[in-house]
């Protein structure tokens, strides 16, 4: 193993020049709304296959890492997430931008992402076989409970009232049943339209609900004022301040990295789930004061999403390297490159000298990418946040074009643009009447995963839900879910009770 790690490092040195190119291209692609990681890797697949295996794989990893940071930029500045995993970034980052902290928010995204990437890389370097074995413990009921963590955020982010949040969450889950059902292949609500066969297009819904609805709000508010009239800290200074401030949240960083790594290693879960789960965890463990900031530009929430999103990269390559099973759609592209070059995959990858070197070259490259994320991400952030200062009458057409391109770019269907506009209008009315768009979004994004794993669990359990309650890991996850949802309120109740007992009515009311 040590030889493999050393040879991998040497192998990386020979192809390291592609890493900055990959990170830069990845970041640029990632910043284009709608172009997700797997889409980007698919576009560049002919280039990746033409390279030597180690170069192609290292280049792909750099693109992947760069893309995860790039998608934060439009999310923070325009409220248009690059892909579903940047929804949390948009939710908190854009609010920070509106209050003049755009540069700082971008700095936090970049630093959170970097720390997530480093810790994810470290996990894959030192514990890949162990993590691979853990990944195999997860089956349908476990993934189902993990998704429940994300869905639990619906109740926690419902600032307009729990009833409204739950209503929207269920509406989102109902909408997510559009398309081919995951078990039987039956078409549901497709109206025989090819555009809906594979389900409701997530990215147009995302852009519509978050970005386009915001645009409509801007128009409603008058188009003569700037979105952001005054910034607290600007330029590189602001970005660096954001980077420094990230370190004031060590627990959020560690918890989110761990969440990202664990979810990353579970094939079928993916980066989007890790960001929502991490966000839900940040919300659950935040102090009452910090909790009030969620949905209004919370640094804890922002860091939670971005850190987990990048730690997930390191996690997702673990099952690829140790089991030959890709943990994400982007990792599936890496598998295609490996197969194309005839590399042994699965446990045999680490047992052959060439395979081990390539595997470790991929792992080491994560650290180089992480270093470059700070430099390139920081520089890009220095310029990107300035978009926030453009007057609204300039930004409206810019955002509109970005939103339309973003909706179109993944499938290249005009239909998807229509979906985006429709969801933009829905989002506008939701915002106007105090219904949280994020709850609808959570239902749409997590609904299909919840449904397919729920149905598989029931089928595997012979039609009964017993598998949810008879395995140690499921019981542990239920306990964790209960603790994250109920521990703080329970502690607060206990504290109130104790304060009443000792006769301190002021503290008791707090």
């Amino acid at each position: 193993m040590m030889n493999g790690a050393y040879d991998g490092l040497l192998m990386l040195l020979g192809v390291m020049w592609v890493v900055p190119i990959g990170v830069f291209i990845g970041m640029t692609f990632g910043a284009v709304p709608g172009l997700n990681k797997s889409g980007m890797l698919a576009i560049l697949l002919p280039v990746l296959l033409a390279m030597s295996p180690e170069m192609g794989l290292v280049f792909a990893m750099s693109l992947y890492a760069g893309g995860e940071v790039g998608n934060a930029f439009p999310a923070v500045v325009l409220n248009i997430p690059g892909d579903a995993s940047a929804a949390v970034t948009a939710l908190e980052g854009y609010q920070m931008t509106l209050r003049g902290d755009g540069a700082k928010a971008l700095g936090m995204c970049v630093m959170g992402s970097t720390i997530g990437a480093v810790l994810g890389g470290l996990a894959s370097l030192v514990a890949a076989p162990t993590l691979g074995a853990i990944a195999l413990r997860f089956s349908y009921p476990e993934i189902c409970i993990i998704v429940l963590f994300g869905l639990a955020a619906i109740a926690q982010v419902s600032s307009g009232g729990l009833a409204k949040g739950l209503m929207m969450g269920f509406a989102g889950m109902l909408l997510s049943t559009t398309g081919t059902d995951p078990m039987w292949g039956t078409f549901r609500g497709t109206f025989d339209l090819v555009y809906l066969f594979d389900g409701l297009p997530i990215i147009p819904c995302l852009i519509g609900l978050l970005g386009f609805s915001e645009l409509l709000k801007m128009i409603e508010g008058g188009i003569t004022v700037n979105r952001v009239s005054q910034a607290r800290e600007v330029g590189l200074k602001g970005v660096l301040a954001g980077m420094r401030e990230t370190f004031r949240y060590p627990f959020d960083l560690l918890r989110s990295s761990l969440t990202g790594i664990i979810i990353g290693i579970v094939p079928g879960a993916g980066g989007t789930v890790s960001t929502f789960l991490s966000y839900q965890q940040a919300l659950s463990w935040a102090s009452p004061e910090a909790k009030k900031q969620f949905g209004k530009g919370s640094p804890n929430g922002l860091i939670a999403g971005d850190t987990a999103n990048n730690a997930d990269v390191g996690g997702s390559i673990v099952p690829l390297i140790t089991l030959g099973i890709p943990g994400s759609s982007a990792a599936a592209v890496l598998l295609v490159i490996m197969a194309y070059h005839g590399l042994e995959v699965g446990p045999r990858l680490l047992s052959t000298a060439e395979g081990a070197s390539v595997a470790y070259a991929i792992i080491w490259s994560q650290f180089v990418s992480a270093g470059l994320l700070v430099v390139m991400g920081g520089l890009l952030a220095t310029f990107a946040y300035r978009l926030a200062f453009l007057p609204v009458n300039t930004m409206v057409p810019v955002i509109m074009v970005a939103a339309l391109i973003g909706s179109f770019s993944q499938n290249q269907y005009i239909f998807d643009m229509g979906v985006m506009v429709l969801f933009g209008i829905i989002g506008f009315f939701m915002k106007s009447y105090g219904y949280p768009p994020i709850a609808l979004l959570l239902g749409i994004i997590l609904g299909p995963m919840f449904e397919e794993n729920l149905l598989r669990t029931l089928r595997l359990g012979g039609g009964t839900p017993e598998l949810f309650f008879e395995r140690p890991l499921t019981l542990f996850l239920w306990l964790l879910l209960f603790l994250t949802l109920g521990a703080r309120p329970a502690l607060q109740l206990l504290r109130n009770y104790r304060n009443r007992r000792i006769g301190d009515p002021v503290k008791a009311q707090q």
């Binding site: 413990r137 066969f197 759609s329 599936a332 197969a339 194309y340 995959v345 699965g346 598989r456 595997l460």
Partner: protein, 336 residues
Amino acid sequence: MIAKSLACSLAGSLAAFAATVSLTAGAAFAADNWPPPQMTIVVSHDVGSSHNAQTRALGEVWAEKLGTKFIYENRDGASGRVGYDYFLGQKKDGSVILSSNLGSSSIMYIQQKPRWKYEEAIYPVGSFGIDPGAIFVKDDSPFKSMTDIIETAKKRPVTMGISYWASPENLQIHQAMEQTGAKFEIIPHSNSGEITTQVLGGHLEVGYSKVGTFTRGGNGLRIISVPMPTNPVPGLTSNAPAFDKEIGTDTLPIASYRGILVHKAFADAHPDRVQKLHDTLTEALKDPRVIEAMKKTGVDEKLLVNMTHDQIMKDVIQAHWDAFAKYGSIYDKKTN
């Protein structure tokens, strides 16, 4: 002034040259305007799939033989329906072709009943490989043979992961259940990676996928049976016996038949061009570069078979439709 005049003269000459080249090329293209300089292959499978990897492995050399360049568009979803519907909406001039799994897409067609008619809209030109089905268990599974599995499944339901419900594998295993009295608890998945993970983790007793899956990462697993009349790849499957031979059943042969299809309108209008597609595909499959590239993606040289249109329609498409006619009701029943 002189410099300006020279520049104008040079620019004029260049423009004239460019126009001449363009006209010449245009004339040449008009005389024999197929294949165009660039063609699109719509792949009805996702980017990370074996089918996509094999299409691309073939495409590089086939494009050379055909005298064109290929660009690829992955349009996956709804058991291949997204790719077919998208393909049918493209230009019918032979510049866009489709790469698809012929067996599973024939089931998709007959089960989903799209508005278009297969024989009127689609024309299979040839095939570029067969990836046999594989029934597998975890290395340390107590099942040593398919007979063991069937015997156990006669006493209690055995859990089995398949790629998706409306798949040929499901038909085959239902045929086996009917003929043997065995019972399987079939759990559909969206890709082979999920099945291998669940079998490796011990959550499913048996998995059902394709041999190519194992060469791309099925370690820790053991192929126990190959649902083909004979096992065409004993070396890749530890000499696993053929399903029907071992169990004594008569079931549908299961494999991914990698096929190339064109629009029927194009095939009717230009049979010579369709023949050219077929012939160059045959040439490409004999090319050592393709043989080597395919081997890397898990396809043995002897499975690089280019079937004719008639063979495909009779032995693959019609065979699947016939099996569906007899057992298709299982897709609606949704129970075992």
